[in-house]
C-alpha cells in the first residue's frame, strides 16, 4: 500500500506546456492514455482494477435484481383491510418488497399525524427545505436571515399545532416522521446557536468563574454520549421539575438535543474566534468600543463567517443524531419506519424500510455535505493563492 501512496503523492509528470500548439499524440491524452495512466499503470494497479471492476459489476447486478427485477411494488388488500403479503414472503429475500413502502410511506413520513391533515407536515418539510436553501445562499448572509429563521420557525409551529385559521389543533404526541426529524435538528441548531455563541465567548472570557462554568459545561456534555442525555431527558427530567409542571416528551428531547448541540457548536465557534487575528481585537479596543460592541460588530461577524463549513458539518451530525430518539420512543423518521413493520402482515420487511429511510437521510446529508465542501473551497480560495 505504501507504494501506491508514494506514487500518488509523487510529483506528476510535467504537463504539456502551453507553447505547444499541436495536439498531443493519442498515447498521452484521450481515453486510452487515461485508462493506461489511471487504471492499468502497473501490474499491481491492473490487478486492483480488474478485481474491483468484477466485484462492482457483480454487486450492481445483484442489487438491480433485488431492487427492480424481482421486486414487488404492491400487494392486494383483503376486505378487512389487511394486506395480503404472501407474494412478498414467497420471494424469500430474492427481491425487494417495495409494497411495504407503497402502503406505509405516509406513516413513515408523517407518523401518527391526522391522515387528512398530512398536507401540513408536508408543507413544513418544504418550508424547512426552503429555509436550508435560503440559508445556503451567500447573498442572504445578512442579519435579516435571523429574522427569516424566526419567522419560518414560528410559521412551522403554527402549521404543526394548528388551532387557528380553521386548522384543527394537533397535539405534539401526534407529530411524527420526517417532520419530527427536521424539527429536532433545525430547532436544535437554532436554539443551540445563540447559547453556543455565549458559551464560546465565555470560554474565552477573562473572568475565571464564567470561564470555569463554560469549560465544565462543554467538557461534561462532550464527554458523554447523546443517548445518556436523552435518557436523562426521558427518565430523569420529570424529577427535576416542580410537581404539576410537566413538559412534553418531545420538548424534553429537544432540550437535551439543544444542550448537546450547543456544546459542540461552542467549540466550533471558539475555533473561529481563535482564528481571528489579534489585530482585530486590538483595533476594536483602540476605537474605544465596549465589549459587546466589539463582539457584535467586529469579532462575531468575521468569526462566524470563518466557521460556516464546520457549522454545516455539525448540523449534518446533529441531523443524523436525531435518529437516537428512537431509543426513548419518539416517532421520528427512523422510529416511524420501524413501527411501520410491527403490523403482523408486514413483519420481516425491515430491510426495505431501512433502505427507504436511509435514502432520505442520505439525500439530506449528502446535499449538505456537498454544499459544505464547495463552500470550504470557496471561502479558502484567497488563502490558496
Amino acid at each position: 500500500m505504501a507504494e501506491t501512496l508514494a506514487e500518488s503523492a509523487a510529483p506528476r509528470p510535467a504537463a504539456v506546456g502551453p507553447a505547444e500548439a499541436r495536439r498531443p499524440p493519442m498515447s498521452v491524452v484521450g481515453p486510452v492514455a487515461w485508462a493506461r495512466a489511471s487504471l492499468f499503470s502497473s501490474w499491481w494497479s491492473t490487478a486492483i482494477t480488474l478485481a474491483l471492476a468484477y466485484l462492482l459489476v457483480r454487486w450492481a447486478m445483484g442489487l438491480v435484481d433485488w431492487a427492480f427485477i424481482n421486486a414487488i411494488w404492491s400487494v392486494p388488500v383483503n376486505d378487512q383491510g389487511i394486506a395480503q403479503t404472501q407474494a412478498c414472503r414467497a420471494l424469500e429475500g430474492r427481491g425487494a418488497c417495495w409494497a411495504v413502502i407503497t402502503e406505509k410511506y405516509r406513516f413513515i413520513l408523517f407518523g401518527t399525524y391526522p391522515y387528512d391533515q398530512h398536507w401540513r407536515p408536508l408543507l413544513c418539510i418544504l418550508l424547512f427545505i426552503g429555509l436550508y436553501i435560503v440559508s445556503a445562499m451567500r447573498r442572504f448572509w445578512r442579519k435579516e436571515l435571523a429574522l427569516v429563521w424566526v419567522a419560518t420557525l414560528v410559521l412551522i409551529g403554527v402549521l404543526m399545532w394548528g388551532g387557528i385559521l380553521g386548522m384543527p389543533y394537533v397535539p405534539q404526541e401526534r407529530w411524527g416522521g420526517l417532520a419530527i426529524t427536521l424539527i429536532l435538528a433545525t430547532f436544535g441548531i437554532a436554539f443551540a446557536f445563540p447559547l453556543a455563541v455565549l458559551v464560546a465567548l465565555g470560554r474565552r472570557s477573562r473572568m475565571p468563574a464564567i470561564k470555569t462554568l463554560c469549560i465544565v459545561y462543554v467538557e461534561l456534555i462532550r464527554g458523554v454520549p447523546l443517548i445518556s442525555l436523552l435518557f436523562m431527558a426521558s427518565v430523569m427530567f420529570p424529577l427535576f421539575l416542580p410537581e404539576g409542571m410537566n413538559i412534553d416528551k418531545l420538548l424534553r428531547a429537544q432540550v437535551a438535543i439543544i444542550l448537546f448541540a450547543a456544546a459542540y457548536l461552542a467549540e466550533v465557534i471558539r475555533g473561529g474566534l481563535q482564528a481571528l487575528s489579534r489585530g482585530q481585537y486590538e483595533a476594536a479596543d483602540a476605537l474605544g468600543l465596549s465589549y459587546w460592541q466589539k463582539t457584535g460588530f467586529i469579532i462575531l461577524p468575521q468569526a462566524l463567517r470563518l466557521v460556516i463549513p464546520p457549522l454545516v458539518n455539525t448540523f449534518i451530525g446533529l441531523f443524523k443524531d436525531t435518529s437516537l430518539v428512537l431509543i426513548i420512543g419518539i416517532f421520528d423518521l427512523l422510529t416511524a419506519g420501524k413501527t411501520a413493520v410491527v403490523e403482523p402482515a408486514w413483519q420481516g420487511f425491515g430491510v426495505e424500510v431501512y433502505v427507504f429511510v436511509g435514502l432520505i437521510y442520505f439525500i439530506f446529508c449528502f446535499a449538505m455535505s456537498r454544499y459544505s465542501q464547495g463552500l470550504e473551497v470557496e471561502l479558502n480560495r484567497h488563502r490558496v493563492r
Binding site: 503523492a9 482494477t49 474565552r204 473572568m207 458523554v224 445518556s228 427535576f240 416542580p242 410537581e243 446529508c365
Partner: protein, 400 residues
C-alpha cells in the same frame, strides 16, 4: 485553556489605584457580571435539586447506591468475567463496563487500520480504487449510525442456522449464532507466557530506545533485532515450555442447541463492531487523506533527492509530518467511537448503557443509573483524551 494569549497589558506594572465601586470600572463590572451569572446558575441548580428531592420524597424513591449490593437477577449473554444472574448489580455493571471497553478498544484499533487503508486508497493513482473509496466515504458518512447498526444486525440474522452453519475451514463455524473459532484450552502456563510476552515487549522497547540513544551519541549502528526477538518471542516460549508446554485444542462442535467450546464472537458484538468500524473508518479516511495531502510535495522531492527509497520517504519523512495534522482530529474520532458504542442498546449487545438501563428499570434508581452511565463515559473519554494528548505532545514539532 491556555487559548487566550497573554494580554500585553499584563506585562506592564499594574496601576496603583484600587478598585472603584462604579460601573465605569472594568474590574468592578467583571465582578458584578460573574456574581450575577454564577448566582443565576446556582439558583437554577438549587431549584432543580430542591424539586428533585421533593419529588423523590413524594414518590418514595430511595436514593443512594445501596442497590448495587443487591442480587441483580438479570441475564447477561457475554461476560469477560465470571457472572451469573445471582451476582450483584455492581458486578453486572462491571461486566457492562468491560463489554463497552471490549468493543471500544478493538473498534478503535480496527477503525484506525481500515480508515488509514481507505484514506490511502482515496489518494491512489488508480482511478477506480480512488472513486470507490470516495463513494464509500460519502455513503457511510451520510447515513445515521443507528440505521447502519440495525442494518448490520439484520444482515447477521440472514446467516444460516447453527445446524446448517458455514464451515469454510475445519473448526471454524459461521452461523446466525456468530462465529466460532478453534482455541486452545487456557491454562496457567498460557497466562504466564502472556505475562512473559508483555514483559518482553516492554523490555524490547526499552532496549531499542537505549540503543537509539547510544547511536545518537557515537553514530555506530547497532543490531537490535536479535535481542528484540529473544525478548518478544523466545522468552514467552521458554516460559511456556518450562511449564510443560501444555497444548490442548478446543475445537467447537455442535452439541445440543449450540456450538460448544472454542472461541466465539456473538452476532450482536460483531454487528456493533462492524457498524462502528466501518462508520468511523470513513471519517478517519478523510483525516488521513487530508493529513497526507498537507505534507508539501517538496518534502517528497527533497527526500528523493537524498536517495531515500519510497517506503523510507513515507515512513521517515511524510508520515511523521502527516501525523501532526492527523492526531488532533483523530482524537475526536476515537472519542466519538467510544461514545457511539452506547448505541449497542439498540441491537442487544449488553454494554454499560444496556445493563444500567435494565438496572434502573428494575430498581427504579433512575438518577443513580444515569449517573453511572455518564461517569463511565466521562472516564473513558478522559482517558482517551489524556492518552492522545500525551501522544500528540510526543510527536509535536519541537519548535525553537
Amino acid at each position: 485553556m491556555s487559548d487566550s494569549a497573554v494580554d500585553p497589558r499584563l506585562l506592564r506594572p499594574p496601576p496603583k489605584r484600587g478598585m472603584r465601586l462604579s460601573w465605569a470600572d472594568e474590574r468592578f463590572r467583571a465582578i458584578i457580571w460573574q456574581v450575577l451569572i454564577v448566582g443565576v446558575v446556582v439558583g437554577i441548580v438549587w431549584w432543580l435539586v430542591r424539586n428533585t428531592q421533593h419529588n423523590l420524597e413524594v414518590r418514595r424513591i430511595a436514593t443512594g447506591f445501596g442497590f448495587l449490593n443487591r442480587e441483580a437477577g438479570l441475564p447477561i449473554g457475554e461476560h469477560l468475567i465470571e457472572y451469573t444472574p445471582a451476582s450483584t448489580y455492581a458486578r453486572a455493571l462491571l461486566v457492562g463496563v468491560l463489554n463497552t471497553l471490549k468493543v471500544a478498544v478493538i473498534g478503535i484499533v480496527l477503525a484506525t487500520i481500515l480508515g488509514t487503508l481507505i484514506g490511502i486508497a482515496r489518494l491512489s493513482k488508480n482511478w477506480l480504487l480512488s472513486r470507490i473509496a470516495g463513494a464509500y466515504i460519502e455513503a457511510v458518512r451520510d447515513v445515521p449510525l443507528l440505521l447502519q447498526l440495525l442494518f448490520w444486525y439484520t444482515i447477521m440474522q440472514m446467516l444460516p442456522a447453527p445446524r446448517q452453519s458455514l464451515n469454510p475451514v475445519t473448526g471454524v463455524f459461521l452461523s446466525n449464532r456468530g462465529l466460532r473459532l478453534p482455541w486452545i484450552q487456557w491454562q496457567d502456563a498460557h497466562s504466564f507466557a502472556l505475562l512473559g510476552f508483555v514483559i518482553g515487549v516492554i523490555g524490547a522497547i526499552l532496549y531499542v530506545r537505549s540503543a537509539r540513544a547510544k547511536r545518537m551519541q557515537d553514530g555506530q549502528p547497532r543490531k537490535v533485532w536479535p535481542a528484540v526477538l529473544g525478548l518478544v518471542v523466545v522468552l514467552p516460549l521458554v516460559i511456556w515450555a518450562g511449564l510443560g508446554a501444555p497444548w490442548q485444542g478446543d475445537i467447537p462442535a455442535l452439541r445440543g442447541f449450540n456450538f460448544q467450546g472454542g472461541f466465539s464472537v456473538s452476532p450482536e458484538y460483531f454487528a456493533l463492531l462492524a457498524g462502528l468500524v466501518t462508520y468511523t473508518a470513513a471519517f478517519i479516511a478523510e483525516i488521513v487523506r487530508a493529513g497526507i495531502q498537507a505534507v508539501p510535495a517538496g518534502q517528497w522531492e527533497a527526500a528523493e533527492a537524498l536517495g531515500l527509497s519510497r517506503s523510507r520517504v513515507m515512513r521517515l519523512i511524510v508520515l511523521p509530518q502527516a501525523l501532526r495534522v492527523i492526531v488532533p482530529p483523530m482524537t475526536s474520532q476515537y472519542l466519538n467511537l467510544a461514545k457511539n458504542s452506547s448505541l449497542a442498546v439498540a441491537i442487544g449487545y449488553q454494554d454499560i448503557v444496556s445493563i444500567a438501563n435494565t438496572t434502573l428499570n428494575q430498581t427504579g434508581q433512575a438518577i443513580e443509573g444515569i449517573a453511572i452511565i455518564m461517569a463511565v463515559y466521562l472516564c473513558i473519554s478522559l482517558s482517551i483524551s489524556l492518552f492522545m494528548n500525551w501522544y500528540n505532545a510526543r510527536i509535536a514539532l519541537v519548535e525553537r
